[in-house]
Each structure stands twice: as C-alpha cells, then as structure tokens.
Symmetry: C2
Subunit: 413 residues, 2 copies
C-alpha cells in the first residue's frame, strides 16, 4: 500500500480524534458503567409520538418529506423556530435562522466562516471538545479564559484579549456555553451575561453562544429566567446563537439551528451547501411536527425532573462515597458533573484503573486548551439508570480512594 | 447593524451560492417547468416500505435508532455496504468505509483532508458544481480537463498535469464522475478507466471517483458492466470512491458513503466528527433496513426503466422541436441531458427569456472552472412527468428558436 501522509492537508496531518468519542466506543463493552458520553436517556424519547408522526409523514402525500429541500431548512419549521426563539426572549426573523445537522455542524460552519489561520478564538477553561476541534481545524489559535463559579472570569477575559492583541494576533470571537456548560455544568450569572454584551461591543468582537442545555434547568436550584440567552439582549447583532433538539427530543435526528444576523446566516448557508446541501428532510419534518404538536413543550417539565433526579443520585452517592476527598460545583441543569481531585492527581493516568473497575469518565485535560486541568474529570449522569449511577460512583470511589491513599493498584475497602 | 465583512474568513469572503440551488428555489413558482435541479421523482420512493420500517424502528425497543452513534456509521449498515460494494466489483473491508451525510459531505471531507491552499485539483470540463464549491472552499486551484464523448480526454489530462507542475503547483487528485456524469450524462469507457489507474500510478496522484448514478444505467444502451467503478480495479489504493442512496432510495435521508484506504478513512472520520458527529441515526437505520430487506435491489430494474423512459421522452421531443439546431450526447443512464447550442449563443443570457416562457434549466457555464461552455445547458429529465417534459421542451424550443433566428424576444412559431 502507498504512503498517504504526503497526500494530506496540513490540518488533516494535525487532526486527532475526540477523547469523548473514543470513550463512547469503549462504553459498548459489557458491564462497563459509562459516565463518559453526554447522551440523553432514550427512555425519555417520545417514541410513540415519533412513530405516529413518521407514520403520517411517510404516507406519501408530501414528496418534500424525502426529497432535497432548501439549504436554510424546511420553511414552516423555520417559522416555528422563530416562535420558539421568542419564548426564550430572542427576537429573530426567518432570515436569521439556519437549520444545521446538529449544533456540531453549526460550530464547524461558524469556525470556517469566521476564522483564518492564526486568528484567535477565546474559549472557556475548560470548553466543549467538539468546539475546540472545529475551531482548530481552521488553524486558528485557541486562547483559554478562566471560569469562576458564576461562569467566565471577565477580568481574565479582558487580560487575554489584551495579551493576544499585544502579540499582534487578530481576536475574532468568544465561544461559550452559558447554560450548564459542557463540561463543568456551570451556569453563567445574569449580571455577567449583560457585562459580556458590553464587553463585546467595547472590544468589537462577536460571541458564539452555544445553548443545547438551557431548557433543562433543575427547578430545585434554577429558573427559566436564569437561562435567558445572551442573544436575547443583543441589540447590536454581535451574538451567533446555536441551539438544538438533541438533548430534549433525540440526538439521532441531528436537528439543530443557528440564529445570527442575516449577513452571517447567508455566509453560513453557502458553506452548509457544500457541507451537506441540507439537513435530512425526514428528520426536519419529524422534529417540526413534534414541536408544532406541543410534544416538546409538554415534556420539558418531565425532562427537567428526570435529569435533576439523576443529578441528585450522583451527587448524593459521591458525597456518601468520597465525602470531602473530591469537590464539584452543583449542576443546576444539563447533563454534567465536574469533579476535581486534589491537584497532585492526574485523571488521565487514573483512567486505566477505572476501566479495570469497569467504570469510565472523560479525563478533564481534554477540555483545556492550555494543557491544565489534569486533576479534573467530567461525569455525565444523563444516560445511566439510578442503580448504575450508584454502582458506577462506588466503583469510581474505590479507584479515587486508592489513588488518594497512594496505592496505585485498586484495593478492597 | 454592524458591518460583518471584517469578521469573515478569506474563504467566506469569496464564497458564492450554487447556481443549481438557486434554480431549485425558483422552481417553486407556480406553472414553472423545471429542468434545473437533479431531483429524483418522489413517485419512485418506496413510501409504503419506508413507513413499515419506520413503524418497526420507532417501536422503542432499540435506543440506538434515535441516539448518538459511532462517527463511522451504524456497524451492521457498514457490513451491508461491504456486501453492496462487492456486488459492484469492489473489495473493501469495514475499516475502509465511512458513512457520510450525503455524498456532498464526502466531497467536502475529501477536499479538506487532501487540499491545502494553492494545491491543484483536476476536474472535468464541465464538472459537478457541488464538488467545485467544496474544493474551492479550501482555496485550492481547480484545473479543468476536457472531455470526449467517451469521457475525460487523457491527452489533455497529461498536458494539464505537466503544465501545473511546470508552474510549480502541487497537483493532488483528479475528481470525476465516470457514470452518467453530472452535468453531461457521459459514460467513461472501460478502456479509459483502466488507463486512468495506470496514469494515477505513473503520475503518483489520487482519484476521487464520485458514483451516485452508476446503478441507474439504461438497458437500451448500457449494461451493468459498463458502470464498473474504477475503484474495482484499484490494486494500489489510489481511488477514493463515493456513492449514495440519494438517487435510488431517496435524497431526504442524506445517506451516502466513502470507500477509501483505511489511513484516509481514519482522517476523514476525524474531520466528520467535527462536521456533524454522525449521519442521522434514524436515516441510517431506515436505509440499512431497506437495503437488508432487498427493497433497493428489487426496485432497480423499475428505476432504470422509469428514468430511461423519461430520457426517451425528452430526447424525442427535443428532436421533434429542435431537429439539428441543438446537439447532445445520448444519456445512457442517470438524470441529465446536456445540450449544446451553436457556440455564438449564451445560455445564461437566454435564461430570463426561458423564465418568461415558464421553463428553466441550469446554464452550462456554472459547471466550467475555466469560464467556457456558455453555449451549453443542463436539462434534468428525472423529476418532471412525461407531459411536463414534453410541454417544457416545447417552451424551451420556442426560446431557442427565437434566439437562433436572431429575435431576442420570444415569437409565436
């Protein structure tokens, strides 16, 4: 066979697979309890309703259900999204919406449309790995900004921008997940949302706001108002807002959307044409019908409670098993619990021992663009059952305690 | 509103929408007969079978139907594709297959993995616009190679490579559609397929072989053997083969695949992770089931006959209406008929008058990377009914005759 390296582009030569996706594959092994991938629980999916909708759509009366269609998306669906956005406080027209094949595509499109090699993207420390990979593919520089318990650290943000500009780099935008961030679960405070808009205006930058989890706030600690998107108060058109049905309806549809000023949507659309022409028609139609029939809205209170309960189980078991040996910020929504060990430990080195105990997580370092965070790990509580959360945390606790006790091999406790 | 140009990447600044996609939107106007987009006819879709399959899949017993899944694709589906490839003479392992969200994604991925700015891609004159856009987004140089009635001109191919290399450019691969090319409908001869492999080896280049139409040969003029992919005889691993279910099952599923040597598939997969994580699960499952149950294989003879008959109707009407005023190569498969007017005419300038007559086509110049071909047009016969093909060709003939007679305004004939 011939040697292919010489045929690869610079970005392909540098590219590496996602740590999370690798963990996703590993989770398939029998009797492994996985806290790794941020998958929703399929028992929450509206199977019966989707089946009924598919049954109607595939009756054959409407060719567009299985045909090519506009790159922007199915028109009535876009109109429905304008309405959904309004319910989140965002005023948008149909011209400001583009349907994407998952928010992952939105991130990839935003990176390709906004970044040239060497440009700087500001990301949180830690940040979602899928965004990191998408931006890195453009050969952009990723600059990390620290987070506080109420979200991104604005002083550090200003300092990083000043530093990058002083070094002669062109800073393009800030990427962040304000609601129940992936991976930390943190909720950005309302005050900071306001201040970020002021900052973007003053520093003449854009904000890419990624909001897959906003609807999944936990009513014991947060309200809908707490999740109000930054985009809702964006009078200048500085925010590119991404959201998705993957965590609420089902990820297998790969249906998400971007809302942005029309000139940007036009450029994102042209690029989407070359990426996949359109988001699959049947999926768009099913999700549209599910929204239109009120299936999403009806189910949200159940979903909030469902994931809140899992969060509570994980949190309680962690406290019971590990007490003060580890720390985490309480998740007020979303899918993730972010655990920090004492700084002298490295969760990536601990992973093989966790796998021996048949439990996995994502080592935190994957989320840090500056190489820090080796003492952290992301635990996703969304998919496993309560029993498996309890059992998985017990297995993990055994590994962590052995680690902390200075015993590299797992011991019975 | 702020000015967004200064926020755009170089490639976004240069990007333009596809001429075909614009025509697709225009076709929505009432009483317009469109020969523009290469859409399959929805009456050919296996509606009842898809409905039954969806009904079974959405019963809820199998979470993976609506869940995230591996980026490579649903495993049993990949195994089935290995079998399907074997039926086309291609020996591949499961490691050499990647499911893509339409072949458009495959083209985009191939471009990004193989091309750096300034690299040369060889494309046919004319070539599929979606490939042209995908490759242009990488800031590659597109070099056109002439076609003969039996496909790409090998002398010109060698001359173009020599010229580009003499100019100091790095030539990367040849992109071509050997079976019923988009837009010309041409079928590459068997002899040339063999010679192309020799050429790729001698000149140390790769071939990107795009084969969406191969299964749709017309039995009155071609056989299955005539469509044998170049990849089938690729012993060195120089061919990246793309194929799709969009023209045979339905395009709305956006399910296609790439077959290539494993090192390239691995790189394509990593990039696909950042583009959309995975091709939608439900669509993969439906297409897999349709294939597994023999629905595709059963329907192919019907589909061949169906599109052959439309081709015959369009060809016959063109002859009746326009005689020798225009010329075209007889399509032996696929969706397209490629019409040339005398060279002094420009089909893009003629388009407004065609629209007045309520008929549209794609002006040929969109498919030529060298700015030539202004006297050509692509007529797609796949979607309109026989009656509408006849009526549309009559309308078009009126425009063409007026043009040829030197009367810029349409006249009654």
């Amino acid at each position: 066979m011939i040697e292919y390296e010489r045929f690869l582009s610079q970005s392909a030569l540098k590219s590496q697979g996602s740590a999370i996706r690798k963990m996703g594959v590993m989770a398939i092994r029998p009797d492994m309890i996985s806290f790794a991938p941020g998958y929703p629980d399929p028992v929450t999916f509206a199977w019966a309703e989707f089946r009924e909708i598919a049954n109607e759509l595939l009756a054959g009366g409407q060719g567009s259900v299985l045909q090519y269609g506009p790159t922007r998306g199915h028109k009535p669906f876009i109109e429905a999204l304008v309405e959904l956005l309004a319910s989140r406080g965002i005023t948008a027209t149909a011209d400001q919406v583009l349907i994407t094949t998952g928010s992952q595509q939105g991130l990839d499109l935003a990176g390709r449309v906004l970044l040239d090699p060497g440009d700087v993207v500001l990301v949180e420390l830690p940040a979602y790995t899928g965004a990191i990979s998408a931006f890195r593919n453009t050969e952009a520089r990723l600059a990390g900004v620290r987070q506080a318990p109420d979200g991104i650290d604005l002083d550090d943000l200003r300092a990083v921008v000043a530093r990058e500009r002083a070094a002669g780099h062109r800073v393009r935008f800030l990427y962040l997940v304000p609601n129940f961030q992936n991976p930390t679960g943190l909720l950005l405070s309302r005050e900071k949302r306001r201040l970020l808009l002021e900052w973007a205006e003053r520093d003449d930058l854009l904000i890419v706001e990624d909001d897959p989890y906003g609807a999944l706030y936990f009513e014991d600690t947060a309200t809908g108002e707490d999740t109000r998107p930054i985009k809702a108060d964006d009078t200048e058109g500085r925010v590119i807002y991404l959201s998705s049905f993957s965590k609420t309806l089902a990820p297998g549809f790969r249906v998400a959307w971007i809302t942005a000023p029309e000139p940007l949507i036009a450029k994102l659309e042209v690029l989407k044409q070359t990426e996949d022409l359109l988001t699959p028609s049947l999926d768009q139609h099913i999700v549209y019908e599910a929204y239109r029939r009120g299936i999403l809205t009806e189910r949200l209170p159940m979903l909030r409670k469902f994931y809140q309960d899992k969060r509570t189980t994980m949190q309680r078991t962690l406290r019971e098993e590990l007490g003060d040996l580890v720390a985490w910020p309480e998740p007020k929504g979303g899918f993730f619990l972010w655990v920090s060990l004492p700084v002298r430990f490295a969760t990536d080195e601990m992973l093989p021992r966790a796998i021996e105990e048949r439990v996995i997580y994502v080592a935190g370092s994957a989320f840090f663009v500056d190489g820090s965070g080796r003492n952290t790990m992301r635990l996703s509580f969304s998919l496993p059952s309560h029993d498996r959360i309890v059992e998985g945390v017990r297995r993990l606790a055994k590994v962590v305690k052995a680690e902390i006790a200075g015993h590299p091999a797992p011991v019975e406790i």
